[in-house]
């Protein structure tokens, strides 16, 4: 579907369909795995307190944390990507591309190398790292009056620098990060409810706050000067949105590792499906990101069972070709774009 042809009705249909996709992906994630679990067992375990069966134990202690982690990280990274793209007025910007993920990862790695961290501290430190990364790119963009391409390229450079720093820390302090490869690729194999809870709280609060700023984001998307001339205090709103994007990225990375692509591809997919109005786009990104990551994680568990592919790998294999197909489709629809 070409974005320019999105009608309000089409957009509403997509917004009604997305919760069903999220629910379906969550149920699949809970049911599918090395041991198949019937949907009835899920209902018993989750809603009637039945925790005495093997199925219930699998759901409550293994699958539920993993499913929630996939849902939350997908939502968080997709919304963070949409916010960053709006704030930087740059459709190529995404948390993994402009170095936000890598700076959050570096903060976590450094903190782990210096001292063992509690579950509460990890998302906070990842948030601080993500915030530092996003502010660095914003500062570079503002100081140089950078074009869209320069902003992305400076972000790519920053991202590479931070990734090299992560590698250096892990080389020098091998015990800094257990499950290092999982962390680099992104995955949920070691997620527990204890680890997830503080990050989940940060994600839910940040998502709610982003939704309250939807109107301002639409004004911001008109360009800095137009936004200012319409009475928007651009700088504080931009800063608030970047802080929220950093909180979302940092919290997600603290338990999911450096998941790539979600923050880039989901906002673009959703723009094509529901348009650019933030009041529709942000909920669509939250639901689309949740469903995509959860489905990819489930695929990773079943495709080569008993071996398991990390969700980051599946996301790349499934998400990137789909994204390229969308781009090519657009090019076919808009000669000379």
């Amino acid at each position: 579907m070409r974005s320019s042809q999105i009608s309000s009705t089409d957009s509403s249909k997509v917004l009604l369909l997305l919760p069903a996709c999220v629910l379906l992906s969550a149920v699949l994630s809970l049911c599918v795995g090395a041991v198949a679990v019937a949907p009835g067992d899920i209902v018993s375990a989750l809603f009637f307190g039945r925790n005495d069966t093997v199925a219930a134990k699998i759901i409550l202690y293994t699958r539920l944390p993993r499913t929630l982690a996939a849902l939350l990280s997908g939502s968080a990274l997709a919304v963070a990507g949409a916010v960053i793209q709006t704030v930087l007025c740059n459709p190529l910007a995404a948390p993994n591309i402009i170095g936000v993920n890598a700076s959050a990862g570096l903060a976590v790695t450094l903190a782990c190398a210096l001292a063992p961290m509690s579950a509460v501290a990890t998302p906070v430190i990842a948030f601080a790292g993500a915030l530092a990364g996003v502010l660095l790119v914003l500062a570079l963009s503002e100081m140089t009056g950078a074009s869209r391409m320069t902003t992305v390229l400076s972000g790519v450079a920053v991202s590479n620098l931070f990734s090299a720093a992560i590698d250096a820390v892990v080389t020098l302090v091998p015990d800094a990060l257990s499950g290092y490869s999982d962390f680099r690729i992104g995955g949920f194999a070691s997620v527990t409810m204890t680890r997830l809870a503080p990050a989940a709280a940060l994600i839910l609060v940040s998502l709610a706050l982003v939704m309250t700023l939807a109107q301002q984001m639409d004004i911001l998307a008109l360009g800095t000067q137009t936004a200012q001339s319409l009475g928007l205090a651009v700088r504080p709103v931009r800063l608030a949105l970047l802080v929220l994007a950093a909180a979302l990225c940092g919290a997600a990375i603290s338990f999911a590792g450096l998941l790539g692509f979600v923050g880039l591809i989901v906002p673009h997919m959703m723009r094509r499906l529901v348009g650019e109005e933030s009041q529709r786009l942000m909920p669509a990104c939250a639901m689309g990101g949740a469903a995509l990551v959860t489905l990819c994680d489930t695929l990773g568990r079943v495709l080569f069972a008993p071996y398991e592919l990390s969700v980051g790998i599946v996301l790349s294999f499934a998400g990137v070709p789909f994204f390229l197909w969308l781009l090519l489709k657009k090019r076919g629809g808009h000669a000379g774009d």
């Binding site: 974005s3 320019s4 042809q5 999105i6 009608s7 309000s8 007025c89 309250t212 109107q215 301002q216 639409d218 004004i219 998307a221 008109l222 360009g223 000067q225 137009t226 200012q228 001339s229 319409l230 009475g231 928007l232 205090a233 723009r271 348009g275 650019e276 109005e277």
Partner: protein
């Protein structure tokens, strides 16, 4: 009325405007003319508070701009910028954003806002596009939607930075006619233009800028008589009386001599 007094402003510590004093009077179309880089757009941005002033002052109805919030400025002056993005939203939604300066929490547009936005779209002859995405519209139609957004701000003063650039002649004349109508309603309309004959024909007053200064300001007749156009643009300005009023054209100076 908005007025500047000895205004200095620029970018990254370098002044582009150097001591501009100018009043934007209600009920008239003021055309800002000048070569590229002389500070026309910078003047509009400084008057709207979009860039920092380094000296002088801007007053809105006698009140220093520094005492006004960004929303208060937006309730007094609208700005049609030179570079415009094309968001994937409907024309009506776009025009509704003109009501943003009046929104308070929870920032939802009400029935009155929709009525004002639809009226603004009708005013620029774009009512039939209200449900179409802005990206689908032609350059002229899109310009109309942007103008409608500025009109929806319901301000006393409207600044337009090169509103006729890239428009075909029909849309250029339509844009200028809308500017004239707005002035007849008592608004101050300020246009940055590169088309000297169009400006001399349609504006009530012309301000000519050169190197950050105001080189001259007056009625089209006064500007024509002053020879400032020839001096600033290095052209020879000619005029001829026709059944359609006084018409202007510019020729290279060397061919004139």
């Amino acid at each position: 009325m908005i007025e500047t007094n000895d205004l200095f402003a620029g970018y990254r510590g370098e002044d582009i405007l150097r001591g501009v004093s100018l009043a934007f009077r209600p009920g008239e179309v003021l055309a800002l003319l000048g070569p590229n880089g002389c500070g026309k757009s910078t003047l509009l941005k400084a008057v709207l508070g979009l860039i920092e002033r380094t000296g002088g002052e801007v007053r809105y109805d006698g009140v220093p701009m520094a005492r006004l919030s960004r929303k208060e400025i937006a309730q007094r002056a609208a700005f049609l910028t030179q570079s415009r993005t094309t968001p994937v939203i409907t024309a009506l939604r776009m025009v509704l954003h003109g009501r943003f300066p009046y929104l308070s929490y929870p920032r939802r547009y009400g029935k009155a806002d929709y009525a004002i936005a639809r009226s603004a779209l009708a005013r620029v002859g774009a009512a039939q596009y209200e449900d179409r995405n802005v990206g689908e519209l032609s350059g002229g139609q899109r310009q109309g939607v942007y103008l409608a957004m500025a009109l929806a701000q319901q301000t006393q003063t409207i600044f337009m930075d090169e509103p006729t650039t890239f428009l075909d002649i029909e849309h250029q004349l339509s844009m200028m006619e809308t500017a004239r109508e707005l002035a007849r309603e008592g608004r101050a309309v300020v246009l940055v233009l590169h088309d000297i004959p169009l400006a001399l024909r349609m504006a009530d007053r012309i301000a000519v800028m050169q190197d950050g200064h105001l080189a001259a300001c007056g009625t089209p007749q006064e500007i024509e008589n002053s020879g400032v156009i020839d001096a600033v643009f290095h052209v020879a300005l000619h005029a001829a009386d026709t059944p359609h009023g006084r018409q202007y054209y510019c020729m290279p100076q060397e061919e004139d001599s």
